[in-house]
Amino acid sequence: MYRKMIALFLIAPLLLTGCWDRQELNDQAIVLGWGMDLAEDGQYLATANLVLPLASKSGGQQGGEQGGRSGFMTESAFGKNNRDAEQNMQRKLSRVLFPGHRRNIFIGEKLAQQGVFSILDEYGRSPKVRPRTNIFVVRGGTAQEAMSLAYQLETNPAIAVQKIQEKSGAPISRSLLDFYIMANGNGCGIMPALTILPPEVKTDKKSKNDSPPQTTLGLYGAAIFNSQLKLAGYLNYDEFWVRLWIANQLSARSFTTILSSIDADKPGGSAEDALSGATSGKTVTVNVDTFKSHITPVLDGGLPSFRILLEGKGYIEENDSPLNLSKQENVDKVEARMNQYLKARIEKVVKKVQKEFKTDIFGLGDTIHRRHPYRWKSLSADWETVFPGVELDIRVKLNITGTGITGESLLPTREGGEK
């Protein structure tokens, strides 16, 4: 009896603790995306992208939107910060906001320019949210604009943008975490940038069922933040991969360059012949799927400089030039031309970052920190002023491992091509 009483007293406290925060699924509003904008009066405008369970139910069963209802709804509220806005938003919602699935955070351009430090804290502090979240800047617009746009391929625009940036070769679903890491290391930051893209050419609907391209959300590139965590500028879609490659984060990208047909066609000609640097002509596309970067800081005497070796492996996807790719020397020509082209592009982007943004988004300072920790102590203080002037020796080494399933082109004759 005595022992049983003791056992009872020991078991009772186990039941008094635990998660009593039971919340039925039907009482929660699942937040998939969260947007923050700066309003005119200095307040923040929060926008939430919520799942509409009823709509996705009918959509799933009948294969289409029913009664024009889409799978999501957006709600917004003003507030002094994230939590305050969330509370203000709650008064419009019959269900509790549940941010556990908040995978995407949108920042309006205006807010980004003013600085994001004032709102980013909650995304790491609250136990309800996940740090593996994407954070985007909406270039030339507000978060609300971007989030209100219906996206056709997915039920929800918030899910769409996350997938778009994954498919563009960026690391998967962790740009917020990466931003935190960078902001604490280099003092600068980078996040993917979105933009609202109208169709290139407007096509009218001729019948009810036509589906011409519509205005949609797209990836712009990357937004760069300086040490004040204020928006310094953007790298566009043709530039942002440079930073990913140098930071060893790029996973896939195709590169298209122009080969001069006149030079390429000389039989037995050296690689140099292909490098005539023409600006129009026949194109070759190489799909690169393995990227590597080696950054070596060189510290002799004064200013540090860096040797950056960028390696890649890929195969030729398209060849519109007269080159016969079943010959190794022609593949070598493509390789050489590609290396030259990539080097030029990369150097241009790096220069732009150094001169215009003056922020070390490539993590070059980190390599000094790792290799020469004592030198870094003296350098780190004014790295921001040193970085724009450092010399970079960039070399690109692309290795073409395949030419697709045809060697020679299936088209019999080409302008100036080998027979």
Binding site: L14, L15, T17, G18, C19, W20, D21, R22, Q23, E24, L25, N26, Q28, I30, L32, V51, P53, L54, A55, S56, K57, G60, F98, G100, H101, R103, K128, R130, T155, I159
Partner: protein, 490 residues
């Protein structure tokens, strides 16, 4: 004590068997004198054999006999039954009554204070049939049946060794049920047999109707949900248990024998594990382990996930669950409890069902419960999936009563998950595992060889190793020598 007076003896018997209409008396009168009387139970003896081997020699004997020498007659009387295989003499009334009730034919003779008992028992019994509760794909088909002697013969024909011991015991004050303790001498631990013997002797019941009566009496922990004594109707299972050093108890009139002590893992080993190729058997075994846990955990995990830990579910899944749950009026726990309850009801109804109404119940079960309830929006679709998956999983147990234990534990676990979430599930599982490792039926740890760990015995738990690699008996079971066979080169 019997008297030499035949009329007196018969009178006494008739008094004893008053109102027993199945007791038959047959007088043999020769020359107007009652010379002998046969008493037998109608329906329990072989009438033709009695006629041929008892009645005819008896008449011959009395016709030809002229001598009155007591001793000689005694010898002769016994000799005339030589054609019969089993014959004995009884001097005590009680002895005679017992023998008659066993089905033997008692021959009372005039002037003799003893009775001849001819064992010409022949009872109605069914043929050996296929096991119904433990099916196999490959393996022997025969099953135990009600007759004790047939059952022992099924063991003996598989183990032709004098070390298979079959100790007999009578239990039940009124039923006098015969119970046989079978074990392999030299393999089994002496203490285990001694313990079983003494526990059986302590049983004081008026009747043993079924082997489960014995099971509940000799079990170590009656209040545990887990079975600690295995039962089987398959002789091959019984034999392999005997060879592992376990004890088998056969009860008369029960087609299920008891195997003790049972371990948790033996409840998860099926006969087909040993007849299939070992790679496939290992694969199937792991599927079974998975399903065992599904049957216990799936509904509670679902409830805990959807009401407490929404973050853990992948986003697309949470959206589809949320849309399926939309409009369902009940909280997830109640929904799960109701559905599990209904499933158990369906299962129970299915067992007792007369064959003719079977389709009616399955239609009602499948259509009403499965479809209509979802269409009406009372229960959500994922819940129906969860419950049916759990239902299927709960039949993946090779040993039926281990499955019932898990099926029952599901309900408190569901409540714990509904009240406390993952924390509740973990709490419950801790209590459950503490209970399981403390069970020691007949001194053998229930979770052996996993806890306490005996690595070389894991070859029949984590995997099903080739037979030549399963050399070792459980050290808790075997006497001294624990290798099953000498080391082989292959």
């Amino acid at each position: 004590m019997l008297s030499p007076d035949l009329a007196y003896n018969i009178e006494r018997m008739k008094l004893e068997f008053l109102n027993c209409s199945d007791i038959m008396y047959r007088n043999c009168s020769i020359g107007g004198l009652d010379r002998a009387t046969l008493i037998y139970v109608d329906g329990m003896c072989d009438v033709l054999a009695v006629d041929e081997f008892v009645l005819q020699p008896l008449f011959e004997h009395f016709r030809s006999s002229s001598r009155v020498d007591e001793e000689a007659r005694k010898v002769e009387l016994k000799d005339i039954f030589i054609p019969s295989l089993k014959i004995s003499m009884a001097y005590e009334t009680q002895q005679v009554i017992q023998a008659i009730l066993r089905g033997e034919t008692a021959v009372f003779t005039e002037g003799n204070a003893f009775v001849l008992l001819a064992d010409l028992v022949k009872m109605e019994k069914r043929a050996i049939e296929e096991a119904t509760s433990e099916k196999v794909v490959r393996g022997p088909r025969d099953a135990f049946m009600e007759s004790l002697r047939t059952n022992t013969s099924l063991l003996r024909r598989r183990i032709r060794s004098s070390s298979l011991k079959l100790e007999c015991m009578k239990l039940g004050r009124l039923t006098e049920t015969e119970v046989v303790i079978a074990y392999m001498e030299g393999v089994v631990k002496e203490d285990l047999v001694k313990e079983v013997r003494s526990r059986l002797q302590k049983i004081e019941l008026d009747g043993i109707i079924h082997s489960s009566n014995i099971e509940e009496y000799i079990e170590d922990n009656v209040f545990s949900p887990f079975p600690q004594i295995q039962n089987t109707e398959r002789p091959d299972v019984a034999v392999s248990s005997l060879l592992e050093g376990k004890v088998v108890i056969i009860t008369d009139n029960t087609p299920f024998v008891l195997i003790l002590p049972m371990t948790y893992w033996s409840g998860l080993q099926a006969v087909d594990d040993y007849t299939d190729r070992y790679i496939y058997a290992t694969f199937v075994r792991w599927i079974r382990y998975t399903f065992v846990h599904i049957s216990l955990l799936l509904p509670s995990l679902y409830v805990a996930l959807t009401t407490y830990h929404l973050q853990v579910i992948p986003t697309p899944l949470v959206v589809s669950i949320a849309s399926a749950r939309e409009g369902v009026p009940l909280p997830a726990v109640i929904e799960a409890l109701i559905m599990e309850f209904i499933f158990e009801g369906l299962r129970e109804a299915g067992i007792r069902l007369p064959q003719q109404v079977g389709p009616a119940v399955s239609i009602a079960g499948a259509l009403v419960i499965g479809q209509a309830v979802v269409a009406a929006g009372i229960i959500s679709t994922p819940m129906v999936i969860i419950v049916s998956l759990t239902g299927i999983a709960s039949f993946a147990f090779p040993v039926y009563n281990l499955g019932t234990a898990y099926r029952m534990l599901r309900f408190p676990l569901l409540v714990a998950a509904g009240v406390l979430g993952f924390y509740g599930i973990v709490l419950f599982l801790i209590v459950l595992s503490v209970h399981m490792v403390t069970l020691r039926p007949f001194g053998v740890p229930y979770m052996a060889p996993y806890a306490p760990m005996s690595i070389r015995n894991l070859s029949d738990v984590l995997v099903r190793a080739p037979k030549s690699k399963m050399r070792w008996l459980l050290p808790w079971l075997a006497q001294g020598r624990t290798a099953r066979f000498p080391k082989q080169t292959k």
